[in-house]
Subunit: 121 residues, 2 copies
Amino acid sequence: MARSPKLERRVLDALWGGGEWSVRQIREEVDPALAYTTFATVLDRLHDKGEVDRAKVDGAWRYSASRSREEALAAEVGRVLQRAAGAPEPLLVAFLDQMERADPEALLRLEKLLKARRGTP
Amino acid sequence: MARSPKLERRVLDALWGGGEWSVRQIREEVDPALAYTTFATVLDRLHDKGEVDRAKVDGAWRYSASRSREEALAAEVGRVLQRAAGAPEPLLVAFLDQMERADPEALLRLEKLLKARRGTP
DNA sequence: GACCTCTACGACGGATTGTCGTAGACATCG
DNA sequence: CGATGTCTACGACAATCCGTCGTAGAGGTC
């Protein structure tokens, strides 16, 4: 059986799109060629890890992301920054470099966001 | 034998401190309670993955980081940002939220960095 | 009761990683 | 020369993670 890389990630991607999903719907969306129980297991494990919420509807689980994509990614970035504790500045610079390369206007928006935030603490 | 979490990471941390290290020195620095060959193996595997360089001196390897801590962590941040391509703005907001919670002064430093950057584009 | 869907749980295999042992190369010291 | 010590290369075992699936059983519907 060929291993599809990052199946958990693809499931999360679907959930991050918004809404509540049954196992069956996730399977349709992500990869209908895989077995139903594959997705049941993946979602179960994601729930164990707290990455998704679920509620029972008519005897079946409905899954939804427990955090938005942005919150999840920001948390990851935060964990990386954590490892640079003591000297975060050079890493922040590198972070800004990356961001500028990805989107030259992002720095301007970031500055606006900072200003706005200072206005309403 | 209790598994120490993230041994590779701790070895990298030592190397990121700078300089060239023998296996023995790394062992002294990181955890002298573990066997010599444990660190020999860890360093060997890090070398296989290209995360460290090495050169033979008097018949023994001297290891050094192949990238600075900042380069390595920035690359990780870059991979995370890659996944947010297309909608970076909400990620910025979440990132700022996260940073403010972790360290309220970090926002000030970030603002300074942005100002300095605009001075020398 | 037959059929269907769903969950819970276990299982297998591949990859990663923490941990160590052994075998052999090489040097040093008596 | 042989004993001792250090180093590398390689293999091995276990734990963990994750992709993948099967089976057992609960519960509904015709």
